[in-house]
Symmetry: C2
Subunit: 338 residues, 2 copies
């Protein structure tokens, strides 16, 4: 335990410490940055603290290369921030926009208003972690615009304030987010693993790109409050994280992918056992899941993972790409280590 | 704890004790009996002992009135038992028949061979607990054929040897099966509750009547062996059982039905978190489940439960029968206390 683990600190005080005098820097006219989306192989499901978005357990992800968010910022002379999502101005009433503006208001001096021009190459809020790449790109672009020159660890913590999984989206490849135990989250930061896995492939089966009815944030809170089975989750999640990291180091695809699927299914199990039940699967999700399990029974080393949404993501190695494409003609294949 | 809770006893020795001299009675020429199927409101999921089918937790069910099994027995002069299921002779290779013959060979003297003529009014092995009514009817018919005159408690234990949930199918109405703690299961018996609930309705949405790919027996074993979340299940199951029994006594439909749905969803959650994942839901199951949740959000007090299969069972009160029928035109409605 750290020295301050039993103290509480507000986000505002922590931000003052991190940004220091740089908070009042004069911004450049504009800046932009890209961040990849990511898929957790060992999931983040449950907060130990909500204002800093501190997780109950660590998690480990793979970034989605060219699937992510490009965000441009420019200083505007206006009373409020403007948010353009995929070319269209969006209402401040949408929860994604509310959270984005809340983040900007926290980190910027009050008088600075921005036009935020954000382009997702993945659907928003459909379980493809676009809030992860969105807040990571926003953090990188703001760091550049404001001339903060913050170290990556602090950028990861800043991105986390917007969305927990954004802490992992600052890098390509495998990224591990430590749970940490400090109340200000200063040890709850992500860092990339050095391992590369050029043969690894991710397949996206997009079942729906509609905004989900229950956000991850609310889903986590409901699960923790009402699922008895969730009490066992932190222990499994920590154990899965260790297994997956070791399998990555060893280049052991089967162990890595099997543990990732087991982890994802167990996370969805904690949701199903919440009250009211939280089931993000659509009938079409189940069709694709059953297809994966059938192919695997027939000998194909193909595994799935799912986030808090209906979309199914496949894990496989390059040598099976043809078989996977034949079975799933609409699949989008990502090469995370291109 | 009972005196013999730390001893082990074979099923054969226990049967000799229970049947005593009656084991060698001369059978009547024929006998028959009916037993209703049942749906657990608080589920049985997991054995603490396999040869006696002893459960990890207690469970509580509602019997399905005229949905059940009628079994006729007649003594035949043949080298082996004959099993007729719904009018057709079935191979000894089928697991239901294997278990049925195994049960007969345990309880009958070796020289007695029977023709077993069993009629289900519900599909076999589709999660409608036809093994429950099947073994309960077989137990009752055998008791009659052999002139055992056993007390109901021992009949419940005998039925349990065939299928755990059969211990609850000897009665109509609400039935509670105590987990017990003795190794011979002599305290793991079911008994009916005295409460009647004439307004209670059960709706059956039959999604598939095909035999399921993984039997409940194997599903339970896989779940216990591989699901970390299952470790939390016994505690929830025992607590749900208490809540449901109290709600029945109080006539509190919402608490009873809500707890039953939460219990069923949590059981399915333990399955989904097994390895390989065990998902009995079909796409059509999910469609019906979502429909129930939508109707409930709109104010209809409608709840669901599911067993180890794809079929969805609804719980509601008589006064909402019209709305339920309008929403689910193919529903079969059961009046458990007709």
């Amino acid at each position: 335990m750290s020295q301050n683990s039993n103290q509480t600190m507000s986000v505002a005080i922590w931000l003052d410490q991190v940004l220091g005098a740089a908070k009042n820097n004069t911004p450049a006219a504009q800046a932009s940055a890209y961040a990849p989306s990511n898929i957790a192989l060992s999931k983040y499901w449950g907060k130990r603290e909500a204002s800093f978005n501190l997780p109950v357990t660590g998690s480990l992800s793979i970034s989605l290369a060219e699937h992510g968010t490009q965000t441009g910022l420019s200083v505007i002379d206006a009373p409020a921030h403007q948010v353009i999502l995929n070319g269209e101005e969006v209402d401040a009433g949408q929860s994604f926009v509310t959270q984005l503006i809340e983040w900007l208001d926290r980190v910027l001096p009050k008088h600075i208003k921005l036009r935020v021009d954000t382009h997702n190459t993945v659907p928003t809020a459909a379980g493809l972690a676009s809030s992860a790449s969105g807040f990571a790109a926003l953090t990188l672009a703001t760091n550049s615009l404001m001339g903060w020159h913050l170290p990556e660890q602090q950028l990861s913590a800043l991105a986390r304030l917007g969305s927990g999984s954004a802490s992992r989206s600052l890098w390509h490849g495998f990224v591990k987010w430590q749970a940490g135990d400090r109340t200000d989250g200063s040890d709850s930061i992500a860092e990339p693993l050095e391992q590369q896995w050029p043969q690894l492939r991710i397949g996206l089966l997009t079942i729906s790109s509609q905004t989900k009815a229950v956000s991850s944030r609310l889903g986590m809170a409901r699960t923790i409050a009402t699922s008895a089975l969730y009490q066992q989750w932190p222990q499994q999640a920590e154990s899965d994280l260790v297994t997956i990291e070791r399998a990555i180091v060893a280049g052991d695809f089967e162990t890595m992918a099997k543990t990732a699927e087991h982890n994802a299914m167990s996370m969805h199990a904690t949701m199903a056992s919440a009250w009211p039940p939280l089931v993000y699967w659509l009938p079409e999700s189940l069709i694709q899941m059953q297809k994966v399990w059938q192919l695997r029974e027939q000998g194909l080393p193909l595994y799935l993972t799912m986030d808090a949404g209906p979309n199914v993501k496949l894990l496989f190695e390059a040598k099976y790409q043809q078989e996977v494409q034949a079975a799933f003609p609409d699949i989008q294949i990502i090469t995370p280590f291109a």
